[in-house]
């Protein structure tokens, strides 16, 4: 803070009384406002704050580029991202507030008319500068995400929490600067708080798992289950956490003012500060208690939605296909319809049954490390909802293996999960949905038949999921061709999948080359196909579409019969059947591996 001559002109020394008391009485709010404005401008120009804002803006863009945003995820995520700004503001505010003592200029500043309390007020007011920048960033983020066609609507209370984090950073920074002016204090505080926050924000396997809702007693957390649930979870307590952050911010402000009050022995100011501190502690106590008790009714309602999709979803019929989506996801139906219509539109004859595309909470809700005996990250963060999590987990595990799990669905089922890709990942989501639709048309299973454990060597055991492989069947190549031609994006996605290379699968006593593990994105159905079927589909994709359609139209139902072979299809298309591709691996093949049956 510099000694502004304007501040000196407006204060007049009183003839009687102690200097400190007189100055405290005379310094007007205008002095604090003027000095605060100068500090705000300095903080806004701080390279650290500007870097924090740039990083936050970059993170918002980076994280939103591959998924259709859901507002109940993103309003929390904006708060998580604003933690970078809050950290930068904390360090910058600490530098600013500790500047006078660091420079050994305390006595010089004491000779000025503005008191230490006024200077503290100015530093605190200065934090409003970065706060305004954070408000602008949040506003820009809301507009940007709204342009991406999000699901749901932002919750102002949650967005306000993110902004309060920036204010909290400023308050803690000023308080630290007033008590500990060494520049290392701010940096160390950010590192320690940052380590705690990083542990809370790690999507999986954070080293320290806090029980239940206690994570919310830290300034911020982001439950990992958010993005896999069909609506806003009651695990986030908007009002209580807002009050908690406000109480912490106020305590930071009071800690900064306390030093000034103590230093100048102003009994009135000290009393007011103590009273305010007691009020803040009471508010913090209430909000802390309230946020550790989530709304059990709302939790059960969300769990019911997850485990009873048929009763919770709204269905829409488009071109003889039924799309069932959770409330709020109606925008996604058009995205799914574009893919399914691309598959169904190339069929010579529509199937008699109605295809149902259903949205559900998928197995991402419980993580694969469950199998290693570790508690699921999702369940661990769920706290008091462990039982509900377990119910959901049982349901989502059954999705993979039970084709009749959800009444009113197609058999084999065609599912999409809560998320849908955008940008570079949209093609992967589209391909998996197109393949499921094509598998349904071809009568191939989209669920695993069973899951088994087996020994893979002297010191090794592993688990495998068994489905069937349509070895040599024409319907396999046809389904692949239909899926790859569904949209302009599915063809390159299909070729990209093939580039990952086949694996060796055992069918009966024979090892063949096959593809599995559909995609890293979205719902993962049991889609397996042979390399020869993929090679035939690849040749079909090079042919003119009319030629393939005409060949399929000739005796269409026959091609869907398991007895129709690849050789017959190749002959009908007038092409040579691609050679059988030997399985990779050679001697490294796992002799103990269980065999997949041939699809019937």
């Amino acid at each position: 803070m510099s000694a502004d001559p304007m501040l000196m002109r407006r204060t007049v020394r009183h003839p009687g009384g102690s200097n400190g008391a007189v100055r405290a009485g005379r310094v007007s709010w205008r002095v604090v406002a003027l000095a605060g404005r100068a500090e705000a401008a300095r903080l806004c120009r701080s390279p650290l704050v500007l870097t924090g804002l740039a990083v936050a803006a970059g993170l918002i863009w980076w994280n939103s580029r591959t998924m259709v945003p859901q507002w109940w995820v993103w309003d929390v995520q904006i708060g998580s991202i604003l933690l970078t700004v809050a950290g930068a503001v904390l360090v910058s505010a600490q530098f600013a507030a500790g500047r006078i003592r660091r420079d050994g200029a305390t006595q010089l500043y004491d000779s000025y008319p503005a008191t230490a309390a006024a200077r503290s007020g100015a530093y605190l007011l200065g934090a409003a500068g970065p706060l305004v920048l954070a408000v602008a960033l949040t506003g820009a983020a809301v507009i940007w995400l709204d342009l991406l066609g999000p699901v749901g609507a932002p919750r102002p209370a949650v967005l306000a929490q993110g902004l309060l984090l920036v204010a909290l950073g400023g308050a803690i920074g000023v308080a630290l600067g007033r008590w500990l002016p060494h520049p290392m204090a701010g940096i160390l505080a950010v590192i320690v708080l940052g380590a705690a926050e990083a542990d809370l924000l790690l999507p999986f396997s954070g080293p320290v798992h806090l029980p239940g809702q206690t994570a919310w007693l830290f300034p911020w957390t982001q439950p990992v289950v958010l993005r896999w649930l069909p609506g806003p979870t009651p695990l986030i307590p908007p009002t209580a956490h807002l009050a908690w952050l406000a109480a912490l911010t106020a305590l930071g402000v009071l800690a900064a003012l306390w030093r000034s009050a103590r230093g100048h022995r102003l009994p009135k100011l000290t009393g007011l500060t103590a009273l305010a501190a007691a009020g803040c502690l009471a508010l913090a106590g209430w909000s802390g208690w309230a946020q550790t008790r989530p709304d059990a009714g709302a939790q059960e309602s969300l769990a019911y939605q997850a485990t009873h999709p048929a009763q919770s979803e709204q269905c829409t019929s488009l071109q003889r296909v039924r799309y069932c989506a959770y409330p709020g996801f109606s925008h996604d139906v058009a995205r799914w319809a574009a893919v399914v219509t691309g598959v169904a539109g190339r069929l010579p004859a529509r199937p008699a049954e109605t295809l149902v595309v259903r949205q559900l909470v998928d197995v991402d809700y419980v993580q694969p490390n469950f199998a290693d005996g570790y508690p699921s990250a999702a369940a661990a963060q769920d706290g008091s909802g462990l039982q509900l999590s377990a119910n959901i987990a049982r349901f989502v595990f059954a999705e993979d293996s039970d084709p009749h799990l959800i009444s009113g669905s197609s058999v084999p089922p065609v599912y999409v999960d809560i998320n849908w890709g955008a940008g570079s990942t949209a093609s992967s989501y589209q391909l998996v949905l197109a393949m499921q639709a094509a598998w349904w048309i071809a009568g191939l299973p989209t669920t695993w038949q069973r899951s088994v454990s087996y020994s893979c060597g002297p010191n090794c055991s592993t688990q495998a999921q068994i489905s069937c492989l349509p070895v040599g069947q024409a319907r396999e190549a046809i389904a692949l061709w239909l899926a790859a031609t569904a949209t302009p994006a599915t063809r390159p996605a299909f070729f990209s999948w093939l580039r990952n290379g086949p694996s060796a699968e055992k069918v009966g006593h024979v090892w063949i080359s096959a593809y599995g593990d559909a995609s890293a994105y979205g719902y993962q159905p049991a889609l397996q196909f042979t390399s020869q079927g993929a090679a035939l589909a690849r040749v079909m994709l090079r042919l003119p579409e009319q030629r393939v359609t005409a060949a399929l139209a000739t005796g269409w139902p026959r091609w869907l019969n398991p007895r129709a072979t690849d050789a017959q299809l190749a002959a009908a298309l007038g092409i040579q059947l691609p050679a059988v591709i030997p399985p990779p691996g050679g001697s490294a093949l796992n002799r103990g591996q269980l065999a997949d049956p041939v699809c019937r």
Partner: protein
Amino acid sequence: MSAPRHGRPGTLRFAAAAPHLARTMPWGALLAGCIAGLGVSLVAHQFSNQPQQPANIALIARAAFVPLVVAIAFVASVSQRDLIAALPAPAWLTNAAHLTFALPALGLTAWLQLDLAAADLQLTQGPGNRGKAFSGGRTSISAAVPHLPWLSLIAELIAWLAFATGAAAVVSRTRWAELAGAIGAPSALAFVGALALTPLELFPGDFTGLSLAQRVAWLRSDWSWCALGLAAIVITCWACRDPWRRLTRRLARPLARRARSAPTGT
């Protein structure tokens, strides 16, 4: 600081200046960094869910190094640099002395941190969990008991510390010398963060049941950290030198001769 005479051996010069240099040492910053680093390790050791995954153990060890990096940045920034440069002793002497004083504390802290990480690993390999390897959804039994890669993590820590000293020493030569530690520490950490985004694969995580490719990755990262650390040490040495050319005897003699031979003009 007493002015050491030119011509004294370096060790004697250092011994003479050491008590004075110890007084200018930022002990508070050093101890705060060591205690914070140790605190991170202790909290993780006490409160983390056991058994820990090896990748998490490596992550915690690295996170606990961060306060040490901050501390060394403040140790390497000498607040009285302008005054020291005016004294007969070379400017690097203060930096060298401060870093020498800091090394035992840093070494002890790092040793304790890695010991705690090794204890976490032992818990992972305890009777109930012995032989479990963590790779995806697969559970495999391995006979070999894994060890913490001490040398690799120490190489990594030394490189990080070298980045921080280098950054602080470089900033010390600028007009922001008084904020050298405050600028140097975040800069070094940002540089480490930026390295994580490069395709160099400098942060291997798993160290149990390693395949040949994973072993090669650890070895490559060790060499990369050594090379980067060496480069940072060279930069530190360059930045710690005197801000101007010091008048030494070797330089002074020809200058004096030139002065004697020059016409006086009177």
